[in-house]
């Protein structure tokens, strides 16, 4: 999709990009047309088309273009049949997104339970069920649902990350850290997950005292380091690193902990390195035109704020 290139490396969670993508729906439908969709089992590019269609579905849902989303869903249903697990999940997602009140969401949940009673290993539906429970603000049920899913499918990265977020939202940081570590065991080079693990252990460290705090903080620093090692100039990683190595926090590390002093010096140097990298990123980003920047305005302003605080 060429037009999205002008937005630079924007993350798909960015609403502006999403809206822009979903506005391509009419074009895509015109290109697809009926005959192509039916022929595309013999077409080498066929699977790509449906992949695009699925992504378009998500963008439409996010930007509240329900009609286009329904069209996408119908195309997919025509091709794969309504009993396909993924199509079932997409249908469920559509129902959830268009549900106006709690009662409708409850009905979605009952529907999922119904499907699962017929086929207990319908993974996409199991995941939808967990997220409906989350939308219904029943986090403990959602957690037990994801745990049940992970007991059967311990190699699902998405589910481990979701579980980590659920635990984190409940303030159960050690469990969240454990879940993220499990996710990392499956995708050991995901720098975003490393950074997230760093963030959660940083938050956990701030609530602790003494030895435990120092252990959690050093875990956090290490994971931030790993994330910037894996991805050069990773803004979020450097931001986290700068936060986790803040002098006011480091002074709370008890002197009794092993090689505390040597460590402190390293941490100070890490802090200044992180600040320097943030400063560099900020100046290169601000020297560009707004639409060529790789980061959002709010990200950059948060970085600016941090730099302002630390220079005081």
């Amino acid at each position: 999709m060429a037009p999205s290139a002008e937005f630079g490396a924007n993350h798909p969670s960015n609403l502006k990009t999403t809206l822009h993508l979903s506005q391509q729906a009419p074009d895509t439908f015109r290109q697809l047309g009926k005959p192509l969709v039916q022929l595309s089992t013999f077409n080498q590019q066929g699977s790509d088309d449906f992949d695009t269609l699925e992504k378009l579905f998500f963008s439409c849902i996010q930007s509240a273009d329900d009609e286009s989303a329904l069209l996408c869903l119908e195309h997919l249903t025509n091709r794969f049949g309504s009993s396909n697990e993924k199509v079932m999940a997409l249908r469920g997602l559509y129902d959830e997104a268009t549900a106006e009140n709690q009662a409708r969401l409850e009905r979605c949940l009952n529907n999922y339970d119904d499907i699962l009673s017929r086929n207990p290993v319908n993974l996409p539906i199991l995941k939808r069920r967990a997220s409906v429970l989350r939308s219904l603000s029943r986090p403990s049920d959602a957690i037990s649902c994801v745990v049940q899913l992970l007991d059967a499918v311990p190699t699902d990265v998405e589910a481990w990350c979701e579980l980590a977020e659920l635990y984190h939202s409940q303030g159960m940081s050690p469990q969240a850290i454990f879940s993220l570590e499990e996710a990392l065991l499956i995708v050991p080079h995901a720098w975003t997950v490393h950074a997230r693990l760093g963030e959660i252990s940083y938050i956990f460290a701030r609530s602790l005292e003494g030895e435990a705090m120092s252990r959690s903080l050093s875990l956090s620093i290490r994971h931030f380091c790993r994330s910037v090692e894996l991805c050069d100039d990773y803004l979020r990683g450097f931001y986290g690193l700068a936060l986790a190595t803040t002098p006011s926090l480091v002074t709370r590390i008890p002197e009794t902990s092993r090689d505390g002093l040597k460590k402190k010096e390293t941490i100070e140097r890490l802090h200044s390195t992180a600040l320097r990298k943030l400063q560099e990123t900020l100046s290169t980003q601000y020297s560009r035109k707004p639409h060529l920047r790789e980061y959002e305005e709010n990200e950059l302003s948060v970085v600016k704020e941090l730099l302002g605080q630390s220079s005081k």
């Binding site: 190699t155 570590e181 499956i186 080079h189 380091c225 890490l270």
Partner: protein
């Protein structure tokens, strides 16, 4: 060998070329394509697990393999030990088995287990798809074209190539450069991979080499157990692997690594 330096000539009807070389080549290409589509049609995807317990039995093994492969990149010593102990004790007392009570019993006869039966049928189908067309074509060539000498290669070869190029023609004195019809079939059989790759795409099913390599690397998410294998034995194996695994952590000393990396950046 004929007289040194004298070109061996055989008077051939040029029609031989059109009526043998081209038909054999065309038939080989067409059967290859046909085989591709027949395989695609008959191929049944590996059956997904039908219960949660079954899925757990399959994937826990992969989880242990993941732990072994990636622990050094992620985990500190304590969290590795914790996971190792959990998995090893689970493997040893059969906590992850679909049916913990069946542990230690001799594996069921694969002939009576419908799931295993299906797996074997899949393999059978694959093999049959290869063997039947090959047998048919080879007997067709033997019946119609045996003994024909159809081509002369434009370059000399050593005598070793005689058995490869002149199968079906038992003439001791014939120059190695002559190619018999049966040999042309074999050359086609092994030489058409790139043609199929061009026509059908790189992951085509006509490629029988790929099919032979297939079972060696089962796709991720598929059943790691071959039919007839005892999961408990695989678990015990894996538990042993985990126990002897020596853990080191890539995160040790990462602070210095980062400092070195980015201070080097600065000086440049």
């Amino acid at each position: 060998m004929a007289l040194q330096g004298v070109e061996q000539t055989i008077l051939r009807d040029p029609a031989l070329f059109y009526w043998i070389v081209i038909p054999i080549t065309a038939v080989m290409i067409l059967t290859g394509m046909l085989r591709h589509y027949a395989t695609v049609l008959m191929n049944s995807p590996p059956k997904p697990a039908s219960t949660l317990a079954e899925s757990r039995e399959r994937l826990t093994l992969l989880r242990a393999v993941n732990l072994r492969n990636h622990a050094s990149a992620v985990l500190s010593k304590e969290s590795f030990e914790m996971r190792k102990n959990y998995l090893v004790s689970g493997f040893q007392n059969g906590a992850f088995l679909k049916d913990p009570n069946a542990r230690g019993q001799p594996p069921a006869n694969p002939m009576t287990d419908p799931a295993a039966m299906e797996g074997m049928m899949g393999m059978m189908k694959g093999n049959m798809m290869m063997m039947i067309p090959q047998t048919l074509i080879m007997s067709w060539i033997n019946a119609f074209f045996s003994g024909f000498v159809i081509l002369k290669l434009p370059f000399p070869l050593t005598i070793r190539f005689k058995s490869m190029l002149q199968s079906g023609v038992m003439t001791r004195d014939l120059d190695v450069r002559w190619v018999s019809s049966l040999s042309w079939y074999f050359l086609n059989l092994f030489g058409l991979q790139s043609v199929f790759g061009f026509i059908l795409g790189s992951d085509n099913a006509a490629n029988h080499m790929a099919q032979q390599m297939g079972p060696m690397n089962p796709a991720a998410g598929a059943n790691p157990f071959q039919p007839g294998q005892d999961p408990h034995k695989m678990y015990l194996n894996e538990a042993e692997n985990l126990e002897v695994f020596e853990h080191f952590c890539i995160l040790d000393g990462i602070e210095e690594r980062i400092l070195r990396k980015y201070s080097a950046d600065q000086t440049q």
